[in-house]
Symmetry: C2
Subunit: 249 residues, 2 copies
């Protein structure tokens, strides 16, 4: 029986610690996309190519990554998801799978991405797997004054590893704020798109300011700049989660 | 300069995932006690033997393990702690260190231990490192009715791996209850002492009952028994934390 190709949408959670990021790479480096494509391909006995909504960097985690793929397989999706999760390492879980119109594309159809960054004052044997560390108490109110500068449409080239051949560095941030949750400082940011390492560069700038090593006016000037900031290192990937991807209802 | 030996008390946090438990072992198996003794010994250039308040099993974590040791070294404790943490793997952190009277012994002086068990309904790529899984929704009220049976002094031999040559199997449980925290069911139990794997056996019995595979009367009968329960496997070590050790004020 021949079945017309269908488009499937997945939600995916992963602990990025031991992966070289989302995106498939040639060679032996383990990536999340590579692991999922291998698992689905083995089950459905076809070449599977999946598109993810966010290309998370090496070591970055996801609570709500979304990916889509086309397949000729008619396999029942509950069974496909269950089989894929049995083959995948326990640090990658497909949490939902459903058919969507062929016009759906996880990356191009997304209207916004939300990231969250978890920060601790001190290294922890348990929590540091999923958090960055400021090594001292940052000025929470100051960090929130900086976060309040972020919403709007601007060129974020200064806060990115994006090369000059990329398709533009203009992003629209719709919300950005820090909140407290237990022993964590959490930064929540939503935008239509993000440049490579952008959240980690922004977080690094806010931590440096919160720790008094950069002043607020300097951070504001960094935001106005469109030249890569030479002295800013991205915050530790361990603290960053791709939290949610939104689509037009 | 000769310094009289002093007794030092430490608080320790660890992610037990990659350790064969707390207790030092001959051979190459990595243990938390072994790692800390090696680090302290290397810094102070003496043989260090530490006593821990709780001998956590392979894979069990600690938020508030307490350990003590005697040393002839006069090294300033802040420096000692900092140096030890630099040598230790990041999954073990000494979080406090202070001198105590020589009569203090982390294990024998402790008046109670508190453990917490974290349980998820479904496996998670991120949370399963620090949680067990019931694979379905347990009956929370039923689990709390079982927990309410636990306080008091009784022989817990049925819920333990303790051999017959051990020093008694009577424990006094002072409090035990389940609560919800986000996506977790958390079991908190405090007792003067715990037998080997006791919390994990109790949790397994409560999960089995909560999932409808054992009825409550049967659990009560298990509590009355003093013979090792042949069909009960301890709950996954990943969910268990030695949370706090208490001492006479």
């Amino acid at each position: 029986m021949t079945v017309p190709a269908r488009t499937i949408r997945m939600e995916i959670e992963y602990d990025g610690t031991d992966f070289s990021g989302w995106q498939r790479q040639s060679g032996a480096l383990p990536t999340v996309q590579g692991a999922i494509e291998a698992a689905l391909g083995r089950i459905m006995q076809e070449n599977v190519s999946i598109d993810g909504a966010g290309r998370t960097d090496k070591g970055v985690h996801a609570r709500g990554q979304v990916a889509s793929f086309a397949t000729a397989s008619a396999m029942e999706l509950g069974r496909l998801m269950h089989s894929a999760n049995s083959l995948l390492p326990p640090t990658i879980r497909i949490t939902a799978m459903r058919p969507v119109p062929d016009s759906f594309h996880a990356r191009f159809s997304a209207t916004s991405r939300e990231y969250r960054y978890f920060l601790l004052e001190h290294p922890s044997a348990i929590d540091s797997r999923f958090a960055g560390c400021s090594r001292g108490r940052p000025d929470f109110a100051a960090m929130n004054r900086l976060a309040a500068m972020l919403p709007g449409t601007r060129d974020f080239a200064a806060f990115s590893k994006e090369g000059p051949d990329q398709q533009g560095t203009i992003c629209t941030v719709t919300s950005a704020r820090w909140y407290r949750s237990g022993r964590f400082y959490v930064f929540r940011i939503e935008a239509n798109r993000f440049l490579r390492s952008m959240v980690r560069f922004l977080v690094a700038g806010m931590i440096e300011t919160g720790m008094g090593r950069i002043d607020e006016a300097e951070f504001a000037k960094m935001l106005e700049s469109t030249r890569r900031l030479p002295n800013l290192k991205p915050a530790d990937a361990a603290g960053l989660f791709l939290w949610k991807v939104r689509y037009r209802a």
